[in-house]
């Protein structure tokens, strides 16, 4: 079935405006969060569609003001594929949980919550999965910054490297300039390479 046929099937039973078709980029159905559960149930249960296999559920951070959740579905009987996309605001992202429809979404949604901070109302057990329970922040967001120390372990090796001073007698090597450093940079061996042996 083509994307338009699937969309026609769904709007046929749920009414116009349930889904919109997005053909540029990756062709997919775009669903509003409010209609999400009804549309997903329709996609899984309606004879002819029967998208009972959720292959992948990903969150995406779209700064400055949006976030998206993308579902990749497949139908085992008809070997069809479908992509569904839900976009929400970045302030308080909330997408209804589809755990009741595809139980496999459980851990995928937990991962999206853990790394991106998207809330899934209706999820039975929404807590961190990849990161420790007392971690603060959502690292996959574009504005994530590493803290200087986690559990007392420094997050860079700078301190360890500074503690090891280089041996005496090595000449200083100037850092290469950034601009024109592609093909135009002259091929010169740093003097330290010859003196270290």
């Amino acid at each position: 079935m083509t994307l338009d046929e699937i969309a026609a099937n769904v709007t046929g039973s749920l009414g116009e405006g349930a889904v919109t078709v997005k053909s540029d980029g990756e062709p997919c159905l775009v669903v509003e969060p409010a209609m999400a559960l009804a549309v997903m149930r329709e996609l899984r249960d309606r004879p002819g569609l029967e998208f009972g296999y959720l292959r992948c559920l990903s969150g995406q951070d779209l700064p400055p003001d949006r976030m998206a959740v993308v579902y990749h579905l497949s139908s085992i009987s008809s070997r069809g594929k479908l992509t569904v996309r839900i976009e929400v605001s970045r302030e308080r992202p909330a997408v209804p949980s589809v755990v009741g429809i595809w139980p496999t979404a459980d851990w995928y949604e937990r991962e999206a919550y853990d790394l991106l901070g998207i809330d899934f109302p209706g999820h039975p057990d929404l807590r961190r999965i990849m990161l420790p329970d007392d971690w603060e922040g959502h690292p996959l967001r574009k504005d994530w910054k590493d803290p200087p120390e986690i559990y007392g372990i420094p997050t860079t090796r700078k301190a360890a490297l500074d503690a090891v001073r280089p041996p005496e007698g090595l000449p200083k090597v100037e850092p290469k300039k950034e601009a024109g450093a592609g093909a135009a940079a002259p091929d010169e061996k740093p003097p330290a390479a010859q003196e270290q042996e």
Partner: protein, 381 residues
């Protein structure tokens, strides 16, 4: 956030809360299980993952498309070619790059050799977890020969980094095909020896048959893939149902579980499906070596700084040894992806353990985990 996941422990009945992991000889990698057990009988086993979460998806946002290939090796180091291939597929579809046929055949050859190597470790660990040490070492011995082949073809024993965007890195060395075909001729008798050693062993069968039965509906709903879902009777193989590369031109059977020794979908089915899949891989390899054409091994004119169109995204998946290994790449017009999501077979296999472990003994839990063939890096990435 309060951890409200655990049932109330019934202390009057002597229930206890144990941690199995993260360092445990029988869990496949660093995974923790919270066991609520009444002695040996498990009331609930909750997997806790994330001990190997390395932030690969975030690193992808800071790495160029070409430069990310070595990271994909580490997603599943036992099936590294599949991980490479899936990523290359996704980026090639995103950027519209066509791969020459010789490169496709080389990818298939490397993939099927890797499938054999991965299944040898999978079944070897399974039998070792159940207490048999010799079959594991036999598998390691055969795998050393495969490691030698990979070292000759690729340069590395474990993390191959063989596939490139648009092709592969190295061509076959002279005599490689003869050596591999000779190995395959000796491999089929080896599998029969393996079967005689352990597969028909009554204790082994008794420990695996009728344990951890997953029926077809559950397997689909819980998103299992690869040998796990096929052992439950669902005939779903991405090489045939979502085809890629030159698999449509090759003949092979999709191994579906039959309830060889017990109920359909038990641990023994998942074990034996892997043995049979190795036989099918041998078949594919012989065909691939017979049909491989001459030509380039990498597409001409793949730009160094690959810049797919902004706003484009693409999902591509390969049939890895552990299931579906899929990559969803989203691009914003620069030479680094804006989002890369890796979908692995072990992630969903781990999920199902919480529901399937009720009523099992702790030793049966070990059998269930090892039959699902989970590796920690696939779950945690």
């Amino acid at each position: 956030m309060e951890r409200i996941v655990l049932r109330q422990l019934d202390r009057n009945q002597g229930e206890m809360l144990l941690n199995m992991g993260p360092h445990h000889p029988s869990t496949h990698g660093v995974i923790n299980f919270l066991l609520q057990a009444d002695g040996e009988i498990i009331k609930q086993a909750i997997p806790e993952v994330g001990y190997l979460h390395r932030g690969m998806e975030k690193i992808a946002e800071q790495t160029a498309y070409h430069g990310y290939m070595p990271y994909t090796d580490r997603v599943d180091y036992l099936a590294a070619i599949f991980a490479n291939h899936g990523y290359a597929l996704a980026v090639e579809r995103l950027a519209g790059i066509e791969v020459p046929p010789r490169a496709e055949y080389l990818r298939v050859i490397a993939s099927e050799l890797n499938r054999i190597a991965s299944h040898l470790i999978a079944v070897g660990s399974m039998v070792m977890d159940l207490g048999a040490f010799t079959p594991f070492l036999l598998g390691i011995r055969e795998r050393e020969k495969l490691n030698d082949f990979f070292e000759e073809l690729v340069g590395s024993r474990l993390t191959y980094n063989y596939v490139r965007i648009g092709g592969v890195a190295h061509d076959l060395t002279p005599g490689f095909a003869e050596r591999v075909l000779g190995f395959l001729d000796r491999f089929i008798p080896f599998l029969e020896e393996y079967d005689r050693l352990i597969s028909y062993n009554e204790i082994f069968v008794g420990r695996l048959a009728n344990i951890g039965v997953i029926d077809a509906g559950e397997a689909t709903a819980w998103g299992l893939s690869g040998p796990n879902i096929r052992s439950s009777g669902v005939s779903w193989d991405l090489r045939r149902d979502d085809p890629y590369s030159v698999y449509p031109d090759l003949e092979f059977d999709v191994v579906v579980g039959k309830g060889w020794r017990g109920v359909l979908g038990d641990c023994y089915d998942r074990y034996y499906a892997r043995i049979d899949e190795m036989r099918q891989s041998v078949r594919i390899l012989r065909q691939a070596f017979a049909r491989i054409p001459e030509g380039d091994i990498v597409a001409p004119k793949v730009p160094r700084k690959l810049k797919p169109p902004a706003g484009a995204s693409c999902y591509a998946a390969v049939e890895s040894a552990r299931g579906e290994l899929g990559y969803w790449v989203a691009s914003d017009g620069t030479d680094r992806p804006t989002r890369l999501k890796i979908r692995t077979g072990s992630f969903t296999a781990m999920e199902i353990i919480k529901t399937k472990s009720r009523g099992l003994m702790i030793a049966d839990l070990v059998a269930l985990i090892s039959s699902l063939d989970v590796v920690a890096p696939e779950i945690d990435r």
